[in-house]
């Protein structure tokens, strides 16, 4: 039952421009088991979306290039697959919900057509049957099926995002990547879309990668959490481990910056400084310029993965495997 669905090993993706090299993803490794939902949390530009595009085989090339690593999905390495083989997986077994529903739908095609398109691509059925299936998908995400003949501009933002979700789910994917599915929506619609995604998790048992910078969304829906900083997973663990027993100074900073209802403070604590530009990453630990616990070692040596428990991994010099006492 709980078998590994996806295994990403040491993935490195860089973007090349004429005079610069942007190190977007720098050695990301993680596993995803069936029916599991893992949250990718990190700042804008941390490499979350690029990792997702890597898994889809959709890294824009040029300028993007997968330099290293394996993405094993159902026993096959996605990095090595041909374009034709990738097309069979995309939209069928791995699907993606993009960040901005306003621009993710083609304005000149009806929503029914757009859902039917992906169904027709991966199933041997007639156009008419595909439209019928598209109507069912619309009903599933809470839009009346008869609206399939309408165009995206006739729907509100939240409904468009549901159409995008319907496209992503139309072929019952094994893995759904949701790239900030609620960021572009207002709060009440966010709640609706989130409730829908939770229902998918319990009803359809789809594995998901949930990309977000909202820890509230993570708490709602994820089983495991990866904290991503400057193209690396700095901490990875179960929801409880990350929320109750986080270790990495960056994770600590993230949680400290969440307002507490019981404590009245004039200013929220923030993590000082900015994330380094991906074109100019520091040697050693990527977080050391902003880290309150930084030492000389952090400046020169990039920390390895330290295993706290079977499921809890952290990348920081402050920790040693299987022990959990801070050295300083």
């Amino acid at each position: 039952m709980n078998e590994k669905l996806l295994e990403v090993k040491d993935l490195v993706i860089h973007y090349f421009t004429d005079d610069e090299e942007a190190c977007a993803v720098n050695g990301i490794s993680f596993d995803l088991k069936e029916q599991e939902v893992v949250g990718f949390v990190g700042e804008t530009g941390a490499g979350k979306t690029t990792t997702a595009l890597g898994i889809m085989g959709l890294v824009p090339a040029p300028p993007g290039k997968v330099l290293n690593g394996e993405i094993i999905f159902e026993g096959k390495d996605i990095v090595k697959l041909s374009e034709a083989e990738l097309r069979k997986i995309r939209g069928d077994k791995i699907t993606m919900i993009f960040q901005d529903p306003m621009t993710s739908l083609n304005p000149v095609l009806t929503v029914g057509e757009q859902i039917a398109e992906v169904i027709l691509l991966h199933n041997k059925i007639s156009r008419k049957e595909a439209i019928e299936r598209a109507k069912e998908m619309l009903e599933m995400v809470g839009i009346p099926g008869e609206r399939h003949e309408e165009y995206p501009h006739q729907f509100s933002g939240g409904m468009k995002q549901r159409v995008v979700i319907a496209i992503a789910l139309a072929c019952s994917p094994a893995l759904l990547i949701a790239d900030e599915p609620t960021t572009a929506l207002d709060v009440t619609i966010q709640a609706q879309v989130l409730a829908l995604m939770k229902r998918l998790k319990t009803d359809l048992k789809t594995s998901m990668i949930m990309i977000t910078h909202d820890l509230g969304v993570v708490a709602e829906i994820c089983d495991k959490v990866a904290i991503i900083y400057a193209g690396e997973i700095v901490e990875f663990g179960t929801l409880a481990e990350i929320f109750e027993d986080h270790r990495h100074p960056y994770t600590e900073g993230l949680f400290n910056s969440i307002p507490d209802l019981d404590v009245d403070v004039a200013r929220l604590p923030v993590i000082k400084g900015l994330m380094p530009a991906p074109t100019n990453l520091p040697d050693g630990c990527k977080f050391y310029p902003r880290c309150p616990y930084a030492t000389e070692r952090c400046k020169n040596e990039n920390p390895d993965r330290v295993t706290i428990t079977d499921t809890h991994i952290v990348r920081c010099h402050l920790f040693r495997s299987a022990e959990s006492i801070k050295e300083t």
Partner: protein
Amino acid sequence: MLKYIIKRLLWMIPIMLGVIIIVFSLMYITPGDTATILLGDSATPQSVAALNKKLGLDQPYVVQLFNYIKGIVLHVSLGTSYRTKQPVLNEILARFPNTLKLAALAIVLATIIGIVTGIISAVKQYKAADRIATGVALFGVSMPPFWLGLLLILVFSVQLNWLPSAGVATWKNWILPTITLGTAVAGIIMRMTRSSMLDVIRQDYIRTARAKGQREFVVIMKHEFRNALIPIVTIIGVQFGTLMAGAVLCENIFSISGIGKFLVDSINNKDYPCVMGTVLFVAALCTIINLIVDILYTFIDPRIKSVYKIRKRGADNG
């Protein structure tokens, strides 16, 4: 939709009225006495005055303008040619098929070449194919049609003796004029297609289409091209209108009896009714082409159509 078309057709009335007044006024203030020109230098003042009276040219400006408009509305007449004494409209209609045929051939050629190379250019941006195509397009746009026409005649008619250089006798006669006229337009359409496609290629919904596992060719044609079509159709419409009137040089070089050549001949002979009639005719054609282009928009982009439709259901109820 029908309501919209009728509304647009009604709008043509004030537009044409404006064109009539402008053209008529320009002709009125042009120096040179018509009767003197028609009768020649040897005319006596008496005969000039008599002719002016006969043509109604002794009347005040407003009366002349009113009479001209009355002629168009009541008798569907654009007046009589001073030179041939034939109704102007007949003269125009006799020549119009040649102009229409030439413009249509040129626009079809230009559209096919322009769109195909434009798409290839956009998809292969900054690759060799793109550089070559944009280079050739720049050459096409920059090349004056009369120069290109003369070169083509020199090579294919004079040197190689493959194709005729004048007249409209056989289908072979149309090849060189079509190329001459179509080259610049092909360049313009190619550049518009390329930039419009490049705009669309960066859109999120193209990524959505790829994420569905769609083949690249289908992504380009079904998702990119359809969205890039509005500016392309606009430019084709504008160019078609221009070709109707602007084939003057081409018609002259290849001795094709069309309305462009007719217009130039009329101007040279101070045949004012013919000049005005031709300008009005072309202006009417251009507004009709614009209307057709606007109607085409609604088939290309459903967002435009919904503006004209009064929807029974609210657009947003979610």
